[in-house]
Amino acid sequence: MSAAALGFLLGRSFRNRVVSAMSRLRSPRYAIGAVVGIGYFVLVFGPSMNRHRVRPTLAPSNPLVTLAPLALAALVAWWWFRGGFQSVLAFTPAEVEFLFSAPLTRRALVLYKLLRTQLGLVFTAAFILIVLPVTLPLAWPLALVSIVLALTVLHWHQLGSSLVRADLAEHATSAARRSTLPTVIFIVALAALLSGLVPELPAIRASADVHEMLAHIGVALQRPGPAIVLYPFHLLLAPITAPNIAAWLRGLPAVLVLLALHGVWVIRSDAAFEEAAAEAGRKRAERLANRRKGLTVQRAESKPASRAWFDLAPTGRPGVAIVWKNVLVFMREFRPAFLALAVLAIAVVYVLVLVSTHSVRSGAIMAAGVLAGLIVISTIMSPIGLRNDLRGDLRRMELLRTYPLRGRELVASEILGATASLALMQAGLLVLAIASAILGGLGHEHPTLLVLAAVAGLPFAVTATAAQYTVQNAIALFFPAWVSDTVPAGIDGMGQRIVMMLGSIVLLVLIALPAGIVGALAFLAADLISGGTAGAVAGAVVAAVGVWGELAGAIVWLGRVYDRLDPVEAGIVT
């Protein structure tokens, strides 16, 4: 009876999902997204789908064959040490609510979980088949079945390891004790792998190119130690790489045995499945919600909030409250990630340059270059990903609309708040870049360049950032459903993201063009009168003023759009 109910749930959910996706295409925004998404897919993967035109047939000596078992072994080791448990065990909140309280055995739940993921594995296998840079020797249906079987065994192993880890987490007294058995197995396996690799090291080092090196590694992995460790993975991959049907039939029983063993292991596993699965589901739901909000860093609930960067006076322009809020969001959510990224990038580059050139000066110049690059990247890319602006607040539109603010003031404050957040970071990066450049001696060699960077660098970055944020917020106001929580994850969602990216590029060009022309004229005029440096400064200032003028006009217009936007019709609130 329970099997019938769970089967009904699986079947109907799949059918309704397909029907919903199809009916969604009646809406132009999803239809356009689907067309663009399919077009992109065909454009990118189309050539590789033609198996006879582009891709060579997989040879037994191909590094994909020789190294794949090692890669899978590393993946499995990772699961045992770090656990994939949050994603593998996760049930949806509805499943937890309905199924966990229903009179179902734990085995039925595990079986349901295994079956539910099967369809996804078939799609994944088909995708792998399409994007593989080589053609598998077998006909595609056999290749597809082989990949699905391998993925299923791996998935079940991941689930099994997650259940064991969940069980140990509940019963073992310490993290160290939980890791004892995997650690012992890992050390033995590592020793066995090294026993094969070490004798081959001279040959690997002496390799003329990457292909030769990979070939030597392949030879090393065939020695007795590595061969024993990697034997199960060789068995798993044998049908996929089989050169003919006879070899495929010879390899298939071993995979089926592995599958059966894993099935028995997972279903008979005596772990605290429900608790682990419910907790994993909760964390996944939170992670997805954060991702939809544009939050990239996971927040610990118990973590105390850092202090606000400036005290908000209770009276004054109300829009400042929005700016203050957006800067706070940045400081609490994104800043640590940015700082870590910047420090890591600089440290890596500095060490690499220092090791290769033994020159502190070169290291400093390279660090300045990396910092300048980070400013450029933060200007172009960050406004797309960091949504501490109207995009992040759209889901709270029911609240925003009750605030005593005109649309233009709200839109301006949202954009200024987000821009100010990034400007703070860009200013810090610029100071570090100039300091590094001075340390590297650029102050003597190219004083004009350094002065220009110091004077015009930040205004230029801030202006470009504000333009990017204005464009992103304009897209959010005109296509709110495309940036809200309801953006689909399928091919139409991918198409929508491509359209948005292209749209934002076009809008940025439209903003930059008039201001750029006026700036260029100013540059030419000033260059004729006073020379290069003055011309460049004059051109940059005029262009920046032009862009800000355009942005001011755009914000007034967007304010009207915001005032007229009906959040119910736009699907922002239900």
Partner: protein, 242 residues
């Protein structure tokens, strides 16, 4: 305080609110009741300026919500059934944020008192993720009370609150009304509406089917004489349905 005339809100062929007119005086608590999909939330959202009416006028403290939105919005507070909080503002920062939006000059003195009243003092530095559903609701109510609104718009205000907080919320609503605040309260809890509201507006399929005190509404139909709001509500919406 709130004057609604011929309010209509349509979505395509669907009319969510149809020619609704009523007035809420200062100090009055008006209960807005109706079955699911009757148009209560659309009415409240129109009053709060969240959505624009298709036709009709809404005046709050003398200001039209469409033509003078900022002035009108300064006069009211809207508490939706689901609290909308900012993930990265602490409890106290929410209040400081709202204080600035509404220009509450004495916010520094009022905020501790409000936190105390809502039993949120110990959680003043907590982010919303660390708050229970009830605490979030209390914070939403505190934000609404901070600027001393002349009109209080409440959509299912007791959702998620514990019994003590429910009692305190009822006292808050009544005390604000006694101080002259106009209150419009939407709820499915008919006992609550009967207990708190001086008048009740029953709407069904977007239209007003009755307005007045519970006694007046009951008196409109002989078979309801002496009966409570629940019987009147069921009878009225049943009539409207048939």
């Amino acid at each position: 305080m709130l004057d609604i005339q011929h309010l209509t809100k349509s979505y395509g062929d669907t009319t969510a609110v149809d020619d609704l007119s009523f007035i809420v005086q200062p100090g009055e608590v008006l209960g807005l009741v109706g079955p699911n999909g009757a148009g209560k939330t659309t009415t409240l959202r129109s009053i709060a300026g969240i959505i624009r009416p298709t036709s009709g006028t809404i005046r709050i403290a003398g200001h039209d919500i469409v033509t003078e939105p900022v002035e009108a919005k300064r006069a009211f507070a809207f508490i939706p059934d689901e609290p909308h909080l900012f993930d990265h503002l602490t409890v106290e920062e929410h209040l400081r944020f709202v204080a600035r939006l509404y220009g509450v000059a004495d916010a520094r003195e009022r905020i501790p008192a409000l936190l105390d009243e809502m039993e949120l003092t110990e959680r003043r530095a907590a982010l919303p993720a660390a708050l229970s559903r009830g605490m979030k609701q209390k914070l939403g109510i505190a934000c609404g009370l901070l600027h001393d609104p002349k009109l209080f718009i409440l959509d299912e205000p007791l959702t998620g609150l514990d019994p003590a907080a429910i009692r305190r919320m009822k006292e808050t609503i009544l005390s604000r009304a006694r101080a002259g605040t106009a209150v419009i309260l939407s709820s499915h809890l008919l006992q609550l509406v009967e207990e708190l509201c001086s008048r009740v507006l029953v709407i069904h399929r977007g239209r007003a089917v009755a307005i007045g005190t519970v006694a007046e509404i009951a008196a409109s139909r002989p078979e309801l004489a002496g009966r409570g709001l629940e019987d009147a509500f069921l009878a009225l919406t049943e009539v409207a349905r048939t």
